[in-house]
Symmetry: C2
């Protein structure tokens, strides 16, 4: 299967010109040959009407698969404009977890309109899956898993799986449950294939099956799937009854999403689910302005520091030459520490109790970094300001790098400790704090060195 970018571009052009002939058998053949993920990506760029027209060229199961690849917003918008019966056909064919997501995106009136058009089993399934809080295991799990009773033989188990297979997302691991759906263990299809057909499932099953709670965070579940290299994890309720599974592809999506959110946070953007490419001006403005305004007022502190030392500056205007450089250096070293720490806390590489040990190391590294940077700049300090200014600049450099690094490293820990998101310790926030600290350190040292006894002129 290849990506036919050229052919897709041609269709896009025809749609834009309003000359697409949906009756064209070549078009139909081309579309039907593409992977649902590729069709979904292509349709996301078109108008809803055009997307809906092209969807109509596909057989129902493919149409449902493609629909599942559209963004939840696009799904809901198309759903709004579709006749109830047609929508119900698609919804019935969708994966159980995607169906529940779509249901959650519809408003109450639409939900009430859709439900009667579905089968009893589908309605119950949606109710079971759609009621969970966002960002929990419950919200990403699917009900399409295979179950077996412990008393079955391997031969009987195979027969059961044959019956369950067509509408289960994965039967590669079957979950063994008692009469009340309590999770007893699990057995891999691979093991069933190799086993004696008359052996009971009970003897074969892994009783130590990992499971997560329905209320666990989706990121926790994804990290478990990554840690244990499993295809899926069963989700249980408070009584250890199985209620769903989370599959490896959900884990991938959750971790990619979580990384994107952390990028947004360290970039001082309020996390947004929307694609950056398609986000509107209003949305981006709302996501970006809060931190920018907070930081404007944060940076007033640096201005206040400068105002406080106005006399020193007036006497030695040369000092201002080194000001941007010195305060930026503290912020830069701090940004490094903060960014490293935010990511390591997110992946679980670093945990809260590592803080004190890492702080010691950070101070040592910061001294080395500060000394190197002081060395790099002292020649210019000497050339532009003479020995005294060079000393002031070098000493300030070591101190601001130390302070910046320590704050940058500790703030994510601190935030995490008090239950806030460590990713709030963004580079610009650390830079603002380090800037203000840098101004005071710089001019305090300058005043002390340049006016040793009586202040300016002394």
């Amino acid at each position: 299967m290849k990506l036919h970018a050229g052919k897709f571009a041609e269709i896009r052009r025809l749609v834009a010109e309003g000359t697409l002939d949906t009756g064209d058998p070549d078009l139909r053949d081309f579309i039907q040959e593409q992977h649902p993920a590729d069709i979904g990506a292509f349709l996301s760029d078109l108008t809803q009407e055009a997307a809906w027209q092209l969807l109509g060229l596909l057989p129902l199961p493919v149409r449902a698969a493609v629909f599942g690849y559209l963004s939840p917003t696009a799904q809901a918008e198309i759903a709004r404009k579709t006749r109830r019966g047609e929508l119900a056909d698609i919804v019935s064919e969708m994966n159980a977890d995607e169906r529940a997501d779509l249901f959650n995106k519809l408003d109450q009136r639409q939900q009430q309109a859709l439900l009667p058009a579905l089968s009893q089993a589908e309605r119950e399934d949606i109710r079971r899956l759609a009621g969970h809080e966002e960002n929990t295991a419950g919200a990403i799990m699917t009900s399409e898993y295979a179950t077996l009773r412990p008393g079955l033989t391997v031969r009987q188990a195979f027969e059961r799986l044959r019956l369950q297979a067509p509408d289960k997302e994965t039967i590669y691991r079957a979950y063994v449950v008692d009469d009340h759906r309590h999770l007893l263990g699990s057995v891999r299809l691979q093991e069933l294939i190799l086993a004696d057909p008359e052996q009971p499932v009970e003897d074969l099953m892994d009783r130590n099956t990992l499971a997560v709670q329905v209320t666990d965070s989706n990121e926790y579940v994804a990290r478990m799937i990554r840690r244990y290299d499993v295809l899926a994890l069963p989700v249980v309720d408070a009584d250890h009854r199985i209620v769903g599974i989370v599959t490896h592809d959900d884990a991938l999506d959750v971790l990619e999403r979580a990384a994107t959110e952390d990028f947004q946070k360290v970039g001082t953007v309020v996390p947004m689910e929307e694609s950056l490419r398609d986000a509107g001006i209003g949305l981006l403005y709302r996501k970006r302005i809060p931190w920018l305004v907070v930081l404007v007022f944060g940076n007033l502190l640096s201005g206040a520091g400068i105002a406080y030392y106005e006399d020193t500056i007036a006497s030695y205007v040369a000092l201002v030459f080194f000001l941007p450089l010195l305060i930026a250096s503290g912020g830069n070293a701090g940004s490094q520490s903060a960014t490293l720490m935010v990511r390591s806390l997110a992946t679980g590489d670093v945990v809260l109790r590592d803080w004190s040990r890492m702080l010691g190391r950070e101070v040592l590294i910061a001294v080395l970094l500060g000394l190197t940077m002081a060395l790099a700049i002292s020649g210019i300090g000497l050339y532009r300001g003479g020995l005294e200014i060079a000393q002031v600049v070098a000493l300030t450099m070591v101190l601001v790098v130390m302070i910046g690094s320590t704050i940058g490293m500790s703030l994510p820990f601190l935030l995490s400790r008090v239950g806030l998101d460590p990713a709030t310790a963004s580079a610009p926030l650390i830079t603002s704090i380090a800037d203000a600290a840098g101004v005071f350190i710089y001019f305090a040292i300058a005043t002390a060195v340049l006016f040793p006894v009586a202040g300016p002129g002394g």
Copy 2:
């Protein structure tokens, strides 16, 4: 299965005290009950000797699994101190891809010592897998996949898979190949289970099987696995012969690793594979100092700007109060744009040809952001400096935010365009550029407004 943090902590204490009794049957039972991933994480914190002692308590297949969960560095270090026969036993039991990774970590002498202790098939397998360039599909693929001939019936295919199953990483999709291992298609185990036992595999197989080239980047392969929600992708050579598969768990690792590297880059840290928790001072120093020194010299430009306008500053020292705030604002807005763009380019949400369209939107957003921030600060400008200074500050704010945003948004595109890594457009780099631009803009406007005709005093 539960994480027994308490018991693990106790063992760690006993190891530290040197009083661990490895003959204790309770210890043996406890260790053997844990998941290999958990044992691996626990052993990574211990000394090599202690780790090796505890590994000895495990049956060989578990020992190999645990060994596979250690970091490649820890594996190589333990391998160095282990007798050749013992090492060969473990290596034989390891997954083919992990085995090849370990082999690549050993020096040539160790490699030559290990090879004769392995079987002919294992040696060939290692040679086939270990020779690929880093960060390619070849470097992460495994040779443990199941193949079928097109002429087999479903019944015969099952018999073949039964024979192949014990040492294949996944048999949930079998690849159909001709006599020369050319990839013809694939068939899912689920489909085989449902099919008529006498049907030929040929009629059942999916001829449109997605495949990647052995030289494709590992991140590309991982994104394909994510895009198409597949368990594994076959890897083919230039002649379309199958040479391996990449599995979903590798995709997870590759994408997590890629996100971590991008975090390091936007934090101006040279990417490092090592865990931040365990990284040494020397390593962290080397990874952090290059950009810090580059930025020190970059920030000299801001200093030069200030020196150039020394007369203006000397006449209006009040201007310096607003300097940190104004230049920081350009950098902050630019950091937002750059961080959003770096991530979107990495995930494929945004592609190169989106640039011109997004630039227009960015300018509009920047004007809105700049106006809001100018409004926020103009009261203080009025209060501290009077009407003229307030006008200078407000006008500068709008301009620096526009320039910072435009640079922050465009630089990742530009870098990507010329084949460099967009993540090089880090927040501190954008901040440095925006700082320098901000200094010149601020004082140029101030000079023009405050000394309208003849310069200072005019």
